[in-house]
Amino acid sequence: MPEYKGMVQPQRATPDDMRKIHIEPVPDELKPEKAIEFLDQIRKKFRSFVMAMESCTKCGQCAENCHTYLGTRDPNNIPTNRAELIRKIYKRYFTLEGRWFGKLVGAEDISLDIIEQWYSYFYQCSQCRRCAHVCPFGIDTCEVTFIGRQLLHWLGITPKLHASVGAAMERVGNHTNLPKPGIVDTLEFMSEEIMDEFGVEVEFPVDKPDSDIMYIPSSADFLLNPYTLMGAGMYFTYIGANWTIPSTVTEAGNFGLLFDQYWTQRGNVMRLLNAAQELGIKKIVWGECGHGWRAAKMYIPSLADRPIRWPITHIHDEVADMIRKNELKLDPSKNYKPVTLHDPCNYVRACGLNDNMRVLMRASVSDFREMTPHGMDNFCCGGGSAILFDDPEMYQRRILLSKKKAEQVRATGVGKDGDGILCAPCSICKAQLYPMVEEHELGVEVKGLIDLVGKALVWK
């Protein structure tokens, strides 16, 4: 049962799991000193981390603005307290005031208990950056948990979920271990389904050379989110695109961002650039994945080992552009059920997709209701950064972490007749919300945004 001295923790990867992703776990008795060593390395590299350590004035504004604290009322889930878990160590070992004044300034000595505390709380932060959004200084606790998780990873402490995804990424270039035959078969099935349901002929070309556009779908679409795949396929066919899906990197996500930016994240970036090079494409279009879009848009330039020749945009950017130019014929009455939009955190706070999503929504849906708050002020679904653990304790915690989101959905009234739609254009949000809308009895179905666009297309 994953629990340590009363703290819930995700199921841990075994030492063999860790070795598969190139980490030799550090023995327990060496963990504290190694943690300090790694922390010393990292603090000299990231200014955002140093600022979070040194510039917080403890005003307390972040507390009521973090869904984890609102849902669990656990004091360590207050963003500044979460940062304090590592700040107290940082102060002790790397600042004068910490060395001299200890407990007065909140400094503490490192111990294995504290490292376990990191593991519990850094994996309850969904890295949604709402705290940065509301902080007077803009201090980003997400940066702290990125670094915290990276430290834990180097020590050999990583959730089994993340480690197995890391291994899958290295093996086949996507999170779900989808090999090429599976990709091809699923896409053939999708073509059949589109013909059955929409009467339209859509082909999904895989690894087609001399394509203009390389579309990167989320691999979760191949298992759980058929309408997202179908919507994208219909869109590209509708506009007459010369497009392809690469089999070597069929993954819009990048879990490396969430636990190992140095190695795992970089790995898939290289795969992507290799695929683009091989297929000779002109533009890369990203599918529906929140953290993945942030990892692609904001981190590819700084992680790549070569200059990037191809512009990268999100499918919502492209669809919105065409809607604004009146190039797409959409019939919103085809999506007549009441719809509310869950703004994925990474889209609205880290990637600027707020307006484009609404352009798609208003053109594709007849009864759209905003939740409160929405846009950049929106609250996380609770599953961000892959808090999708299914062991009993963490599953219960996920219910608490999604409580604020459930309140928001209920308040819109879209689910009161049991036929509402909760649009969540991000694979992790979908994976979190599929079970959570049942747990919270919200009366809604979870759909992606390109799903709705695909359904609304008028083919004439």
């Binding site: 603090r43 000299k44 590299k45 990231f46 200014r47 955002s48 981390f49 140093v50 600022m51 040194e54 510039s55 917080c56 403890k58 005003c59 307390g60 504004q61 507390a63 009521e64 207050i78 500044t80 307290n81 304090e84 004068l96 005031e97 300034v105 909140g106 940065a132 959004h133 007077p136 200084f137 803009g138 980003d140 997400c142 940066e143 009467g199 339209v200 002929e201 859509v202 203009d212 556009i213 066919t237 509708y238 506009i239 007459g240 533009k283 904001m298 330039p301 700084s302 992680l303 512009p311 945009t313 950017d317 492209e318 190039e327 797409l328 706070r349 880290a350 600027g352 083919w459 004439k460």
Partner: protein
């Protein structure tokens, strides 16, 4: 005591303060902005960045959006503090006649001194009250209590004592300090002339106030008071100019594709919608 606090310590204070600030800022500058972690919405020009950072630093924009009570208290405290510090520098530097120097307003030196006195008194009280509010919320509000460490409370109490002594010197005639005394003292310090005999140093309240200020300055680089610089350093990381790459897919002609009936099964091309 007079010798230590009035003659020797000031030079140590300035040295330690300067070195401390340079050391801390140097550490900040040495760490890098590695990845692009700009927060949306995007700002399109450096002018917009300046406005955004300025409104956060001087008008406490985020506080206003999410916690109006804290915004009022914090803005009042910082604004009063700005005026007090500014008033110390400008007021003592011009012997209270700063307002007479503004051209065209016709303020006499005497009126200026009275204005300086009044503003100093008012802001002294406002600052004290605002600090009291900030300390109060650290005990009364559950969320703030949960994030507060002993040093957070200590700083507020420290500032209350410091400002309190300043207010006593302002309001209690027996302990009043004249502008000229401070002016002469500061001038001598800066010019490395001996000050230990000066009348100013006879005032116990002045020495106490002065000592507290110096300890604060020495401790500042090693405390959260560095948020003075931190505001700008952090805001510059998350609020910067960012331009999205242009949308537009290569070799796409949607009208032509629709005319050709792409996707519509052969034979249905003439039919109305699907």
């Amino acid at each position: 005591m007079k010798l230590l606090i009035g003659q020797i310590l000031p030079y140590i204070t300035v040295t330690l303060f300067t070195l401390g600030i340079l050391y801390r800022l140097g550490r900040w500058a040495g760490a890098r902005i590695v990845h692009n972690i700009t927060l949306s919405p995007w700002l399109q020009t450096n002018g917009q960045v300046a406005v955004r950072i300025g409104s956060e630093a001087f008008l406490f924009r985020n506080l206003f959006r999410f916690d109006k009570a804290l915004w009022a208290g914090a803005l009042l405290m910082h604004f009063a503090l700005l005026n007090i510090i500014g008033g110390h520098i400008v007021g003592f530097g011009t012997l209270g006649e700063e307002f007479a120097m503004i051209p065209g307003l016709g303020i006499t030196p005497e009126l200026s001194v009275e204005m300086s006195d009044l503003l100093g008194s008012v802001f002294g009280i406002l600052l004290f009250v605002a600090l009291l509010y900030l300390l109060y919320r650290r005990f009364a509000l559950e969320n703030v209590k949960l994030v507060t460490k002993p040093s957070d409370n200590l700083w507020l109490i420290y500032l209350l004592v410091l400002v309190g002594i300043g207010n006593i010197m302002r309001f209690v005639p027996a302990y009043h300090i004249h502008y000229e005394l401070v002016y002469e003292y500061m001038a001598a310090l800066i010019l490395f002339q001996p000050v230990v005999h000066m009348e100013l140093l006879e005032s116990g309240f002045f020495l106490a106030h002065y000592l507290l200020v110096q300890i604060l300055l020495i401790a500042l680089p090693f405390s959260k008071l560095m948020h003075l610089f931190g505001m700008f350093a952090e805001r510059y990381i998350v609020n910067r100019v960012y331009h999205d790459p242009a949308p537009g897919l290569p070799n796409i002609d949607v009208a032509a594709a629709r005319k050709a009936g792409l996707g519509v099964p052969a034979g249905d091309a003439a039919e109305e919608g699907v």
